[in-house]
Amino acid sequence: MRTRHPVAAAFAVAGYIVMIVPILFVVATAFTAGKTLKFPPEGFSLRWFGQALSYQPFVGSLATSAEIAVLATLLALLVGVPATLAIHRGRLPGKGIVEALFLSPLVVPELVVGLALFQQLIVTFRFDNWPVLLIGHTALLLPYAVRVTGASLAGMDPALEEAARGLGASPLVAFWTVTLPVLRPGIFSAALLSFITSFNNVPLSLLLQSRTTRTLPVTMLDYVQQSYDPMVAAASTLILAVTVVIAVIAERTVGFTRIFGGINR
């Protein structure tokens, strides 16, 4: 990019280096033939990918992560989308407070939420770890469901729905044929963001884990602490590849920057 702002450009280059270069080093070391995380890598081989894909704790926790992420996303949308409709369309007293309540899990530090659920639900009330993990992830995702679908609802002209009603559609039919299609991109964005947020989550998953309920990021952290070999680099590279695919899908469907630029508005 040619620019007439040399100082700004220098800072920007430094920013990109800090953001991107460590990730490139992960990918490079994943292909090493050597036994340690050494740079430059010793030789070229795919053996660490093979090891990562057959290492039982990784495979098992990948399944747990995927299960929790899918279910928590569905649950958050199932209870969050109706709430969004009520907030934006219903005649509610204290609408602002209700919305703030739904966004509140975003404000409290995740480790604190994790600690609260661990102390109260697992230790005091003896819940199993798995349902609590699901509850925690769903609570964490509710703000995304409400904010992202809310944004597309706010952009919709309420007259459309009134017109449908005026033409004789029942509330349900008007919702199904008019409102839902308008909401669809918002719901898709919220689902994508939710899935990724849940899948990558560490603080909640860390505090709510048990020997049988452990998510992939937590298992990887654990592994890094015990052994210093390129298997985590290989696993990370695989995650990176899948994430690129997700980004491309997001770009083709709703628009990558629209989805991910919309989180912190």
């Binding site: 604190v112 509710l142 560490v202 680099a233 920057t257």
Partner: protein
């Protein structure tokens, strides 16, 4: 009738969920951790705010948060500014590259620094290879490592927040200032920067709140000599199982985040009226 009850029915499942899965446990954590009384939690809280060891951890957490926030704004704003104000066929790709890391697991991003900073890592090997040092310097488990890791983590957040702020400043104002004879630098400092200030404050708040509560980075890159509130909270709840200390740490973290958000919304309101 239907317009009165329908919204409540739509809200009920979500509110119920929030109550059971978030609000009640959070409040209960403060007042009755398992087998511990409210009194014990607040006694421990008082101790933490006077004990030198605990104060050092709080101070370090604040310090890392502040340093990372400054770096993320100083590096992030220029990226946002250039992305919003220059158009080339690369800007789409560069914007995507700045946002993409938000999709990528913190574990993966933080792990990269082990490869770069580790004793067999890129920087160490480079310095040895160039003959500048005999042995790779200890870069991991230092404050520098934690700051670098947190900067990488939160820079994208800073960039997209600043980007939306700069995009909302009418580019016509830049042209007007230039047309009236202001230099590029002057236009930047006197027009673009002040008008983007509310966005910068939001970016700084998000980065600060994120850095003082992040766990993965201080855990992997800080080691035991760079404990932060987050790593300490985990140790209290899962290693020593000291519920009073864990709850007290949680209170400190939460108050810190809320205080900063309140301060920033105050500053934002002042900025908007000034």
């Amino acid at each position: 009738m239907h317009s009165r009850i329908a919204p409540l029915l739509l809200l009920a499942p979500g509110l119920g969920f929030l109550l059971v899965g978030f609000l009640v446990p959070s409040v209960a954590m403060l007042f009755s951790p398992p087998g511990t009384s409210t009194g014990e939690v607040f006694v421990r809280l008082g101790q933490m705010l006077t004990d030198p060891y605990d104060l050092q951890i709080i101070g370090r957490t604040l310090m890392f948060g502040l340093v990372v926030t400054v770096i993320c704004v100083v590096l992030g704003f220029p990226v946002a500014y250039l992305l919003a104000r220059t158009s080339s066929r690369w800007s789409g790709l560069l914007l995507a590259l700045a946002i993409f890391p938000l999709l990528l697991s913190n574990v993966v991003r933080t792990f990269g620094w082990l490869v770069v900073l580790g004793s067999n890592g890129a920087i160490g090997q480079l310095l040895v290879g160039l003959g500048l040092v005999d042995q790779a310097p200890q870069l991991l488990y230092t404050p520098l490592a934690v700051v670098l890791g947190l900067t990488q983590l939160f820079l994208p957040l800073s960039i997209i927040t600043c980007y939306s702020a700069v995009s909302q400043v009418d580019a016509g104002l830049d042209d007007a200032a230039r047309g009236l004879g202001a230099s590029r630098t002057r236009t930047f400092w006197d027009v673009v920067l002040p008008l983007s200030l509310p966005g910068i404050i939001v970016a700084a708040t998000l980065v600060f709140a994120g850095s003082v509560t992040a766990y993965t980075t201080p855990y992997l890159l800080g080691g035991s000599s760079n404990r932060m509130l987050s790593t300490q909270l985990f140790a209290y709840s899962s290693v020593t199982v000291d519920w009073a200390s864990a709850s007290a740490t949680a209170i400190i973290m939460t108050v810190l985040v809320f205080a900063v958000s309140a301060l920033s919304s105050l500053a934002g309101r002042k900025g908007a009226t000034a």
